[in-house]
């Protein structure tokens, strides 16, 4: 296990950079139930995601973004097709394989509610549970990972606060800290900026960007096209469970795609190297 | 209208219809009429208050049920539910209670015949209750179809009357566990549970219930004009005598009852005088973790048999839970247990399976006496059989261990004088 390479820095790197990490969805379909007319959440999806990049899944509500993330996290099994992590199919059959998977992939659900009064530190420490045995106490290494994650996300002053007394932004940082502490090299985050104000939303995205730059694979779902354009290495555009387009933000987020998928007319406004969109609803 | 006005209005009709409580047809209808006459507002308020009380009660029950151990103490819960039911009925019946004429304080609570063969009524019985009211039982004719709802009255009826006059016995008497007169009971053949419909189907002209029978059963039967004799007290031989007397008066079997009681009292007196000469044995009646202490029926049995009740001497009253260590420290010379009929030996073995108990003198033969529960808890004339059974066990004990115990018996703290005087 590589330890933080810049121990004196204010933002130590807490996870190993795995350049060979990959998450591949091969012709994945997920239907609800066996019937021929059962609703299909994701259809014939092919994705090949590589470490060191920040991938944003975009699409209107119900386009299958969350389902794709859950498939990638191994929370649901595809009806057909395969999900490969580092070239191996996800194995969810046994408790031990689930725990092994948990050490490699971290997942942050969109909505989160904690029962009982867990503190920030306790929540972050939960990322270490898959790393130690049932009866074993947390090791010093486990504690170091937790400390480092808390520090990196500036949660040290909040570490003894009870989770549900935190603001939305703070809670989202706690979730990110948990992902960091898990040492997973694949981070899957479902709408991490929802319910956050502008500054906190930017902060979360900056952290995600940095984590990707350190060599992790970070996959987000977002609704904010401008944020996707600014932070993503790659954008995957989904509509009704199908892949519409996949490529760099500039390629994917053109006016035609946006009109087709989101039913809005987008005008791009440029100012130097920066750009923004102006949206008008299409009159149908 | 103030709140107190409303209250008064709500209660007024009840006060006006102050009549005797006993079930005679015209009177039995009054509660309904009384309610109908209430002022509308008063009645709705009364209803509301009743509902409120019911809601509170339900909440209380729900709260208890929710907090109660795992919500699963069926007997307890059943108990509390039925208590709740009683409370509710009492609330509804507030007027009913106050209908009893307030008369001079009663000196005698037993039923007695107040008039015989007057007009179209065969006999009227009356009793004073503890609250000073008077309760009447009007019998239009000599009962020929009697239904009994307590084991004790089952046994007494079978003793006093030919089976043809008994229309039904309580279901308890159908099983060997409770009834001792099984052969006699089977001659009647009809056993009815506590439902008014079942009882009415037998077209009874007298129903005998107990104070612990469902209150609405008594009320319902009276409401349709069936005379109901409700037995109130079962604490000891005096009450049993009163109950036998009341039953005899209600069914017209006074001579047979007198004979029964004379013979019973004779037998009791024989036991008393015989046992008075014997050394006072330190005894304990112990059923399922409970000692029958002062005031219990068995305490009286022990006193008649000239034994000292160690639980009563320790200052306990009624049924008192004690642990085996306490029992060992009391060190009784004889212990009476109760069990299912036919399981007496198994119960004895179970009791003696505890090594610490076996190590006491109770481990010696004849010191653990198991009596079938049917006899152990009897409140009919069979009480005399119980007394004789206990006396016989004490006789045997005195014969085998008498001298031995006299030297071993150490004085218990807080003992009473009754025992010491007869210790040789």
């Amino acid at each position: 296990m590589s330890r933080p390479s810049e121990p004196e820095s204010s933002s130590p790197r807490t996870a190993p950079a795995r350049v060979d990490a990959s998450l591949v969805l091969e012709n994945v379909t997920l239907a609800l139930g066996e019937a021929a007319h059962a609703p299909v959440l994701v259809r014939d999806l092919d994705l090949d995601l590589r470490a060191g990049s920040l991938v944003v899944l975009l699409g209107p509500n119900g386009s299958g973004k969350t389902t794709t993330l859950r498939l990638a996290a191994g929370l649901v099994a595809p009806t057909s097709g395969r999900v490969l992590l580092d070239g191996e199919p996800l194995d969810r059959s046994r408790g031990s394989s689930l725990r092994r998977l948990a050490r490699r992939v971290a997942y942050v659900p969109q909505s989160y509610q904690s029962t009982f009064d867990f503190t920030v530190r306790e929540l972050v420490a939960m990322a270490r549970y898959p790393h130690h045995g049932r009866f074993a106490a947390p090791s010093l290494a486990d504690r170091r990972q937790v400390e480092a994650a808390l520090e990196r996300l500036e949660l040290v002053p909040l570490q003894h606060r009870i989770a549900h007394t935190l603001s939305g932004g703070e809670l989202q940082r706690v979730q990110l800290a948990r992902c960091l502490a898990s040492e997973a090299h694949v981070l899957l985050l479902d709408e991490p900026t929802s319910n956050l104000d502008l500054a906190h939303g930017l902060e979360v995205l900056e952290v995600c960007r940095a984590l990707a730059d350190e060599g992790r694979l970070v996959v987000l779902t977002l609704h904010d096209l401008m944020a996707a354009r600014r932070f993503a290495d790659r954008v995957v555009l989904l509509q009704e469970g199908r892949l519409v387009d996949d490529g760099t933000p500039v390629q994917v987020l053109d006016a035609g795609n946006i009109r087709r998928v989101f039913a809005v007319e987008a005008s791009e406004l440029r100012s130097g190297s920066r750009s923004a969109y102006w949206f008008d609803r299409l009159q149908s | 209208m103030t709140g107190s006005d409303l209250c008064r209005n709500a209660e007024r009709p009840a006060v006006e219809t102050c009549v005797d409580r006993a079930g005679v047809p015209p009177l039995a209808a009054t509660p309904t009429r009384g309610r109908r006459e209430r002022p509308r507002s008063g009645s709705t308020l009364a209803c509301r208050r009743r509902d409120l009380r019911r809601v509170h009660l339900a909440l209380l029950v729900a709260f208890i049920a929710a907090l109660a151990p795992g919500g699963c103490r069926p007997a307890q819960r059943g108990g509390s539910a039925s208590e709740a039911g009683v409370g509710e009925r009492k609330a509804e019946d507030g007027g009913d209670e106050s209908r009893v004429v307030a008369t001079a304080p009663a000196a005698q609570h037993a039923w007695r015949i107040v008039e015989s063969a007057g007009g179209d009524v065969w006999r009227t019985l009356a009793r004073h209750d503890a609250a000073g009211g008077r309760e009447l039982l009007v019998l239009p004719r000599r009962p020929q179809r009697i239904v009994s709802q307590t084991v004790a009255s089952d046994e007494v009826l079978l003793e006093l009357l030919p089976a043809e006059r008994i229309a039904g016995l309580s279901t308890y008497s159908a099983s060997a566990g409770t009834s001792i007169d099984l052969a006699k009971a089977s001659r009647v053949g009809r056993f009815v549970g506590g439902s008014a419909e079942e009882i009415l189907a037998l077209k009874p002209d007298l129903v005998i219930t107990a104070v612990y029978s469902a209150p609405e059963l008594t009320r319902r039967l009276r409401a349709v004009g069936v005379p109901v004799l409700q037995l109130r007290a079962f604490d000891g031989w005096g009450d049993i005598e009163d109950n036998i007397g009341a039953i005899a008066a209600a069914v017209g079997a006074e001579t047979a009852a007198e004979e029964l009681l004379r013979s019973a009292n004779g037998r009791l007196e024989a036991v008393r005088s015989r046992r008075a000469r014997a050394p006072a044995v330190r005894a304990l009646a112990y059923t399922y973790g409970n000692a029958q202490a002062a005031g219990s029926t068995f305490d009286e049995v022990l006193r008649i048999c000239g034994a000292r009740n160690v639980a009563a001497e320790a200052g306990l009253e009624g049924w008192a839970a004690i642990d085996l260590e306490r029992l060992i420290v009391w060190d009784p010379e004889i212990v009476f247990l109760s069990s299912e009929t036919g399981r007496e030996e198994a119960e004895r073995e179970r009791f003696l399976s505890q090594p610490a108990v076996r190590r006491t003198r109770l481990g010696e033969p004849g010191r653990v006496v198991v009596i079938s529960g049917a006899l152990f808890g009897t409140v009919s004339h069979r009480y005399v059989d119980l007394v004789e059974r206990v006396a016989a066990a004490l006789d045997r004990l005195s014969a085998t261990h008498g001298a031995d115990d006299a030297e071993r018996s150490d004085p218990a703290p807080g003992k009473t004088e009754t025992a010491s005087e007869s210790t040789p």
């Binding site: 996290a73 003894h160 | 007997a75 306990l316 004690i322 085996l324 260590e325 399976s353 049917a374």
Partner: protein, 359 residues
């Protein structure tokens, strides 16, 4: 900021204090339960009996003298089993409460919620009404354990839909089953009431308590309690994760379905064993986990361990009250736990209502 000082957490500090307090209370309660009793055996004698020392010729007590063999019997055959059964029952009920509160994400869940206690009681009541109570002292307890298991199997079957068990379904099924089993229980008792003695025997058992327990009761309770508590400790962290949501738990390596089954099994073992040897003792499973959670937080490893200790202390202390409050008579243990537990619980709820923010 040094990375190895997690003990600075107020909770961690409190954990030490609470642990010490719980253990001390339990030891004190156990000692008191061994030393106190109707036969006033001097503490030194009790100690020498317990540690196998030579018995004196005659033991002087306040009430007179006692044969040494009798004193031995009282301490070893009456007091020690009672104390051990109290420890086991308290620990089992408290841990069962922890598991169910975690499983249902509701601090008001109790071992009775999924019908386990009712099932256990029904099993025992059936055994008693068939007269098995007199055949062997093992049959009634085994009936209780079987009933607890059966009720859980039924509740899991009802709640399971397409291979999954939703918490809501489980809770509703538990409530329904509880009501049904209670009705069945009442029915059996009502039938048994025809034989007055059987009904009395049933009532005596249901009222419960740990008076007059012997070594057979210890033997009956021990395996189930030990297995149940071991399962609870092994899965305590999984329960922490489950409380963060099933998706999150799964992403952190917890098979939710399997966990629910394991925890229900553990609960059945614990409640069945406890009901088997003590009848129905209420409030332990409700109050103890709640109080311990308020003191040390919701992390289940510590919660399970400390609740076991605190539950044992609670039952032993309640039993001491039951033994001494109306001496020379006794109270029912369940009455004492309810009397002590209910007001304390209400007090805690009121006190905690205003202070969510603070740690």
């Amino acid at each position: 900021m040094s990375p190895s000082t997690p003990a600075t957490s107020p909770r961690a500090r409190r954990l030490l204090l609470v642990t010490a307090l719980c253990i001390a209370t339990t030891v004190a309660a156990a000692l008191a339960s061994l030393l106190l009793g109707a036969a006033e055996i001097p503490p030194a004698t009790v100690a020498s009996i317990l540690f196998g020392g030579a018995a004196e010729a005659e033991i002087e007590t306040a009430g007179g003298s006692l044969e040494p063999e009798m004193a031995r019997s009282i301490v070893l055959q009456l007091r020690l089993p009672r104390c051990l059964v109290g420890l086991l029952v308290g620990a089992a009920l408290a841990v069962a409460g922890v598991l169910l509160q975690g499983l249902f994400r509701n601090a008001l869940a109790a071992p009775g919620v999924v019908g386990t206690s009712a099932g256990g009681a029904l099993g025992a009541v059936l055994a008693l009404s068939f007269g098995l109570g007199l055949r062997s002292s093992y049959l009634v307890p085994l009936g209780a354990i079987a009933g607890a298991f059966a009720s859980l199997v039924v509740v899991a079957r009802i709640a399971r839909h397409r291979g999954r068990t939703s918490i809501t379904d489980l809770l509703l099924a538990g409530v329904a089953l509880n009501a049904f089993l209670s009705a069945l229980n009442s029915f059996v008792i009502a039938r048994a009431w025809i034989d007055h003695e059987v009904a009395r025997r049933i009532n005596f058992w249901l009222m419960g308590g740990i008076a007059d327990r012997d070594w057979s009761h210890v033997a009956i309770a021990l395996p189930g309690c030990a297995a149940g508590i071991a399962l609870a400790i092994a899965h305590a962290r999984d329960l922490d994760l489950m409380l963060q949501g099933e998706d999150l738990a799964r992403s952190l390596g917890v098979d939710g379905e399997r966990l629910k089954n394991v925890l229900l099994l553990a609960t059945a073992l614990l409640v069945g064993s406890a009901v088997a040897v003590s009848g129905v003792v209420g409030f332990v499973g409700l109050v103890v986990p709640h109080v311990v959670r308020l003191a040390i937080g919701p992390s289940h490893r510590a919660l399970v361990l400390l609740s076991a200790v605190a539950g044992a202390a609670f039952v032993l202390l309640s039993d001491l009250i039951a033994r001494t409050a109306v001496s020379p008579g006794e109270l029912q243990l369940g009455i004492v736990t309810a009397f002590v537990g209910a007001p304390f619980f209400v007090f805690l709820l009121i006190r905690e209502r205003g202070r969510v923010e603070t740690l």
